[in-house]
Amino acid sequence: MNGEQITSDAPSHVVTGETPATSSTQQDIETTRAALSRVQRIRFREILAIVGPGVITGGADNDPAGITTYSVVGAQSGFAQNWLLLLSTPLLIVVQQMAARIGNVTKNDLATLIRIRYGMPIATLAVGATAIANIITIGADLVMMAATLELVTGRSYVEFVVPIAAFAAFLTIFLDYRTTQRYLLWLAGVFACYIVSAFLARPNWIDVAKSTFLPHLTLDTTYLLGAVGLLGTTITPYLFFWQTSGEIEDRRGVQDIRRSGLDIIAGMVWSNIVALFILIVTGAVLHAHGQKIVTAADAAKALEPFVGPSAKYLFTVGIVGSGLLAVPVLAASTAYAMAGLLGWRRGLARRVNAAPAFYLVLGLALLVGVQLAIAGVDPIKALFYSQVLDGLIAAPLVLLLLLLTTNRAIMGDFVIGWTSRIIGWVAVAVLVAAAIAFAYSVATQGLP
């Protein structure tokens, strides 16, 4: 991914409008390539300071919807879908690196580029589908956060929905959310307890290893629904928009491509390690005893091997923390996408009066999410199906990302390399195959 910048066959004059006679010479390209390689080098002491949008995105990836989806899949299928997480890790890393690179190189956000390159109808479809999935996920995340608070307080979850949404809006609109989220990330760190819990649950590690490293496919609807949900919660469309906008707001340019890459690897690997251990512990604790996840209390049971009866408290802290990290990200990425589509001023670093339409969409996304949350939907089902929807719309969006990052008119000399292209196409193929298999299965067998 990193050694591919500035290709020697770069037609630099085409993009800048220079005539070939005055364009960058081969020597210019070589000199710039050498200088870029030097400034992009990451020093050891920089590694810890490299935390940026990638690690935050990884944290937001394990939102209440993600945690619930992993728990439901683990309880339903045991370890059978562990291999999908192993497969999705490099795919997720490359897809997020593509989204980041768009921000680093073009300084334009994703929706703007889709609109400019592929026209308003395609951009509207992409943004519209993402916005719908985001709003449903906001509603589902709010329900799950409120349901965990119901679990520990005994009060109805409905009482918590509005205060949580108001707090999320306050964090996003009135505070510097990009700073705040670094603290919230620590709350979501509670999910590291799943790793300890998995060891204490004493699963059969040989079975775990087999199901992680040997792909196992079953063509029944429950399995395929789980697979699409698992892929949808891992390779999530809103994260693409967030990653690109995050790089722009953090002002990470071409010289930061390697730093962004490392940041993303750290965030995504951590996110998928936690996801894998959730599958393992729910497989060992719930699936092995034939238990399904119907309520938040069932989902919290996976932490019991570690903390016993306190599991529900720890689970609540984790869900509320990750929810406060994810809900503003979901609302903001919806606003970024809409603003990019319609050319509005945007950015969380701006004040409300400097980007009123951006903040209006952000507020509306939260409001509709609240409306969905208090409409009495089943939180576990809402969360799970929102991730299935994400899985279904991820394929065309990854395809658009791939087409943009391989387009010289858009990326200039900084198009992605062949390794990334191949992995990107594999991601599209896997997502399309999962969606087709799921659609076929639903058509022939109906929804489970």
């Binding site: 390539r33 334009n108 340019g253 071409v254 010289q255 000399d413």
Partner: protein, 228 residues
């Protein structure tokens, strides 16, 4: 940061006014707005009754100018002032890549104003700036742009709008984009992909003799290093 830029006398006056306005706003509690010259590299805060100026500048001269600016605060009765400003290079190495921004305006007047803003105030370390207006001349200029950007500009010009193309060092592109987006009446700012700087080139896309290139100090230093 303003060193090395060609600023017209009227630009100096306007800049001085902006600096004064910024200080007045900061003293009244608006400490979040970027400084007119140093942008977000500089921030002001209060530690009890002490005014704290922190951040970085890139030359001794800029630091001295900053000390002069503190007279504005003193005139307003702020006697305790602490300056935690260091002199260092801006983040990122300049002089490697250049990037062009397309800024769309609703009409020619606003585009002309923005061009004057870019050229006179010196807040954007640009290397070239060019105005494109609807008309026959624009066609040749647009044709030199690659798709899909040519279509974008053409579409806007067909609606009677105007475009300004500003070329900056790649490390300045975020800052330039933000200023052009926020401080002009632009409809949209789109950035073209970066490309390697031509060694020995003074300007990238401006019309010769119309708008002379103004190269930022680090960019010029990088040029000289390359030549050496």
């Amino acid at each position: 940061m303003a060193e090395g830029r060609e600023i017209e006398p009227s630009g100096h006056d306007l800049l001085a006014e902006q600096v004064r306005a910024w200080w007045m706003a900061a003293l009244m509690g608006d400490t979040l707005s970027p400084h007119p010259v140093h942008g977000e590299a500089l921030s002001v805060s209060f530690d009890d009754d002490t005014l704290v100026l922190s951040g970085y500048v890139t030359t001794e001269m800029e630091l001295a100018a900053l000390h002069d600016e503190l007279d504005i605060a003193r005139e307003c009765g702020i006697s305790n002032v602490r300056v935690d400003v260091e002199i260092r290079e801006p983040p990122g190495e300049q002089g490697l890549l250049v990037q062009t921004l397309i800024v769309i305006f609703p009409n020619e007047v606003l585009a002309q104003f923005a061009l004057a803003y870019v050229e006179a105030l010196g807040r954007i370390a640009h290397e070239a700036a060019e105005l494109i207006l609807p008309g026959a001349e624009a066609r040749a200029r647009i044709a030199a742009l690659d798709e899909p950007y040519a279509s974008l500009v053409r579409r806007h010009l067909d609606r009677g709008r105007a475009a300004v193309l500003v070329t900056v060092d790649e490390t300045e592109a975020f800052h330039a984009r933000e200023l052009l987006d926020e401080e002009t009446r632009s409809l949209e700012v789109v950035v073209l992909p970066p490309h390697p700087r031509r060694r020995g080139a003074k300007q990238t896309i401006s019309s010769p003799g119309k708008h002379d290139a103004v190269m930022s100090r680090p960019a010029r230093a990088a040029e000289e290093r390359m030549r050496a």
